[in-house]
């Protein structure tokens, strides 16, 4: 029970800090919005059916915007030695991982919730469908899961803005491919049952990415 309370304390602390500064949210939202608008203009004249490119554009926008948020996530902890403060707490280090991961997941999801209607309007596709939202959440979960681990790893380096995407994308690619395939299929009118293999792959990669991150976080954050 105290494990959950400690996770909740970390998420609550991150939300209070974010509500005060809006640093993570504003950078992620502005980037995602710009990406969606630029892609919209870039493809408008050449693509007959926007639904063919929409899944790719959506996931490129989400992952690159999410990257900005993940980069900020541990930079805030590094400031004034707060990461040491967290690590000194008498908690299982996995509570710190899950607290930070769920906070990142929440912030990226909020950005997605705002960007999705704008995306749907600009590309004239209906993304507000239950299963597409489930896929979006599952993809974001896996991305946040492994992204939190690599963010904690990259924060100690000087080239963290470059290092994080270099580390993260190759590992997250299977989950992202499954998410793009599922989004495209659902937009084409297929059912989840038709694409059970991709859904299983996405769920399996979420579980693997989060489990491996959970097991290695302790070693990443200690000297």
């Amino acid at each position: 029970m105290s494990f959950l309370r400690q996770i909740a304390a970390i998420i609550r602390k991150d939300i209070i800090a974010e509500l005060r500064t809006k640093e993570m949210f504003s950078s992620m939202f502005v980037f995602a919005l710009l990406a969606v608008v630029v892609f919209n203009f870039a493809f408008e004249l050449r693509v007959a059916d926007a639904a063919t490119i929409a899944p790719g554009v959506l996931w490129v926008s989400v992952t690159f915007a999410g990257m900005l948020g993940l980069n900020r996530s541990f930079v805030l902890e590094k400031d004034r030695g707060c990461l040491d403060g967290l690590l000194l707490a008498p908690v299982d280090r996995s509570a710190i991982y899950f607290g930070k991961m769920l906070g990142n997941f929440l912030f990226i999801t909020v950005v997605e919730a705002i960007i999705l209607p704008i995306f749907s309007a600009l590309f004239n596709v209906n993304l507000i469908q239950t299963w597409i939202l489930v896929v979006l959440l599952l993809g974001t979960l896996g991305f946040s899961g492994v992204g939190t681990l690599f963010s904690a790893m990259a924060v100690h380096t000087r080239a963290r803005e470059v290092l994080l995407p270099v580390l993260l994308f190759p590992v997250a690619v299977p989950a992202l491919i499954a998410a793009v395939k599922l989004t495209a299929g659902l937009l084409d009118g297929q059912t989840v049952a038709d694409m059970a293999n991709w859904m299983q792959l996405l769920v399996a990669f979420d579980v693997i990415l989060i489990a491996v991150s959970y097991m290695t976080f302790d070693y990443v954050v200690e000297d």
């Binding site: 304390a9 209070i16 005060r20 004034r80 030695g81 403060g85 200690e222 000297d223």
Partner: protein, 234 residues
């Protein structure tokens, strides 16, 4: 009884040996100051005791708990103050302490937070964001954070770094007011005067080795400075 016991502690970063076979004991209620030049391994040693860094080899016990098997229990019984405040700049003093009280499972947190803020003289600034605090005020709040869960052992890593004379004197006063004298304290510093004045025992770390230990009662400042110069010059 030993509150901190370090046996054959070695720490290497790649090919660099930061600590070499360090043996050190701090008894319950004792104030031990570890001095040494930059790069001697003081911070590495205190970070290992604080469970922030893993030893390459050797054993460490704090308040009877071994670092390997009981890291969470070790963390519960230590308070850590460094030259960084370990506080969130965008949260208020009270929000910071509330967060840490949740992490440490402090009973009756509202009263305890008020009590420690009163002790460090920051009760009136409880609702101000930490980033608006001066360096000295941040360090006082850092003390409040460190004693919030009533630790038995205090680890102080260069706590005076970046403080002017007045702020450093105030820090001494606050440390006395919060009762660090009754706790076991391991402090690292390169300020020989302050290290000597506050401690019951001093030890010198040089190039990762513990090269000298003496009781404060057996030393005067001049002779200690002489000994220190000779050791460090080697």
């Amino acid at each position: 009884m030993a509150a901190i016991e370090i046996r054959n502690l070695t720490k290497s970063f790649g090919s660099l040996l930061a600590l070499r076979d360090v043996d050190l004991t701090v008894t319950e209620g004792e104030f031990l100051t570890l001095v040494g030049p930059n790069g001697a391994g003081k911070t590495t040693l205190i970070r290992i005791v604080a469970t922030l860094s893993r030893p390459t080899s050797g054993e460490v016990w704090v308040d009877g708990w071994n670092l390997t098997d009981g890291a969470a229990e070790v963390r519960q019984c230590i308070g850590f103050i460094s030259h960084q405040p370990l506080l969130y700049g965008d949260l208020t003093a009270e929000e910071n302490l509330r967060f840490y009280s949740r992490m440490y499972g402090v009973p009756d947190p509202a009263n305890r937070i008020e009590e420690v803020l009163e002790q460090v003289g920051l009760l009136a600034r409880r609702r101000d964001a930490v980033r608006t605090f001066s360096r000295g005020m941040q360090q006082r709040l850092s003390i409040a954070r460190a004693i919030l869960h009533r630790p038995a052992v205090m680890l102080l890593d260069e706590p005076y770094t970046g403080l002017d004379q007045q702020a450093a004197a105030m820090l001494d006063e606050v440390m006395r007011a919060v009762g660090t004298a009754s706790l076991t304290v391991l402090m690292t510093t390169h300020d020989l005067h302050r290290g000597l004045v506050m401690s019951d025992r001093v030890a010198v770390l040089s190039a990762g080795r513990l090269v000298y230990q003496a009781l404060r009662a057996d030393l005067d400042e001049a002779s200690f400075r002489q000994v220190y110069r000779e050791i460090v010059a080697v």
